[in-house]
Symmetry: C2
Subunit: 327 residues, 2 copies
């Protein structure tokens, strides 16, 4: 039995009634498989994410509605990073006996609200009791016009490195939560309710502005490393140009050490992309007050590694080979 | 960090090296999303399953290679039940610290071996440590020619009810394991390494023999109930015709009460389908020595409910409305 005394079938039926009847699907929740039509001429994109209680989240810190939204956003962010449009979401839930039906309802409301934000539908999933902790697995399917998908391996020496939004807010919030302090509200919102940059990703792909793209989940340094590994390139990154939010800047005045979080903190879910210099003005024109786009460096040859420099070009961190980002 | 001191990236890299390079995919493991092409004129099928330690399996009972295979088969079985061909598999793993690297390797070998059996490729996933127990979430994508998908809602009064293979073996094995006894080997194999009936499902769909289909995961009684609910029908089921394996029959001689397991036990992963009577001979001709097909009843009008009768037509169980299959 599931929480609140609901059986599995009853829970699924509750959920099904709150979804669009089939939505864009040929068949939604309630059969052995969801059945969907991938738009003609488009490729299917799929990504899976795990969110495990006490590893990825603590229920004492995050509201269940936010957790539902975040579970969707972190997953959809992978589709955004390929330049695609999310279509269907699949939710697998291991539900501990002590989760109240009210909390479960708030969670699923959050899931459905984020799906609506991104134009996706909840198309299926699985639920069962979990003997130990809440376990969430989310799989998103999306589509991208064939040939427009933006992978990690297309960066070339000379390309500029861009990032959307601001960096480090989410990591700053986590740092404060772990220390038992109340984080700045704006940073906490970024940590609990990140937004996947779907529209930006689609535009960059459609205009063929991005040569490589990834979403920042592990942190700028680590995720840029993935692009460099896949593309066989190096990069030089201007540390002084990393975009920081007003809340982050204010916090940093008193605790300058948090500046590292913009480089190494995770869960920004901003888009990090490379783009040939001739597109620089056009890329800059895509920025909005809500979503700035910042040029933070340039791709170089692989033998350079990843170098972090300041405005004067002085090396501000060891080369990448000396930096263990698995630690 | 993951088991055996492997980091997440290292584990994914190990796994990636053991997969077909991209296989049938445009892009496999190693980018934000897997990228695939759904065959022209085909619909996309997707299903997700959870397997949680101490809910769905006990590591003391099942070998890790079998667990890997079973995780794939139970998921692929949903694609088989729609008449589809599995294409891609996505694996999300929450890995406890005490799982050895050897066990993890055996698990992934099992996953890959089952993928090969079904003609699918491991296309992506997510891994992280689990603070408590092994947590497996599997998502399969498949395809079926548009219009040939077999759903649960197509049964019509007069259709015959068919089932593949034999029933109750898996449930018998579980019963014995729970009682601390050694199950018959054949039943244990069915419990630990069930086979998804992909070829049969595809044939039934391609020939348009099946009007409704489901795989038996919750038990014949419950899963036939899903077809009846979706189709708005009743059924009469001949209890004496349920196909039983030699091992099951031998066991039943000493413990006749296990006969119920063929009706209510779960995890058979056989195909349960309905078919208009004019196809009866053609359906019968699809049976093989390894995979019998048995006619076990007939669809009736919904007011009849689900009636279980013996060879003489005597009611052998309460009508469905009096039977709580959520319990």
């Amino acid at each position: 039995m599931s929480p609140g005394g609901l059986g599995e079938f009853e829970f699924i039926e509750r959920l099904r009634r709150r979804c669009d009847p089939n939505g864009a699907l040929v068949r939604g929740i309630g059969d052995d498989c969801a059945v969907a039509r991938v738009p003609a001429g488009e490729l299917l994109l799929t990504s899976t994410d795990l969110l495990i209680e006490d590893v990825h989240f603590r229920t004492a810190w995050i509201d269940m509605h936010d957790l539902g939204r975040k579970s969707v956003s972190v997953n959809v962010s992978d589709v955004a990073a390929m330049g695609g449009q999310p279509l269907s979401l699949f939710l697998a839930l291991g539900i501990p006996a002590d989760l109240s039906l009210e909390d479960l309802d708030r969670f699923t409301e959050g899931v459905l609200s984020a799906c609506r934000d991104y134009g996706a539908v909840l198309a299926g999933g699985d639920t069962c009791r979990s003997p130990r902790g809440l376990f969430i697995s989310v799989t998103v399917e999306g589509a991208v016009p064939d040939g427009l998908q933006v992978t990690r391996d297309g960066a070339r020496p000379g390309d500029l490195v861009w990032v959307s939004g601001t960096l480090g807010d989410s990591a700053l919030a986590l740092r404060e939560l772990l220390a038992g302090r109340q984080p700045p509200e704006e940073c906490l919102r970024r940590h609990h309710d990140p937004r996947a940059r779907v529209e930006l990703g689609r535009t960059l792909a459609a205009q063929r502005f991005a040569s490589a793209m990834i979403d920042i989940s592990d942190g700028l340094f680590s995720d840029l490393g993935h692009i460099l590994d896949a593309s066989g390139c190096g990069a030089v990154l201007r540390r002084d140009l990393l975009p920081l939010s007003p809340a982050f800047l204010e916090f940093q005045q008193h605790q300058p050490e948090v500046n590292d979080l913009a480089l190494t903190g995770g869960e920004d879910y901003e888009l990090l992309f490379t783009s040939p210099p001739q597109h620089a003005e056009a890329v800059r024109a895509l920025a909005t007050p809500d979503l700035p786009l910042t040029e933070i460096g340039q791709i170089t040859v692989s033998t350079d590694g990843l170098r972090i420099v300041d405005a004067q070009g002085t090396l501000r961190m060891p080369t990448r080979s000396g930096f263990d980002h698995f630690a």
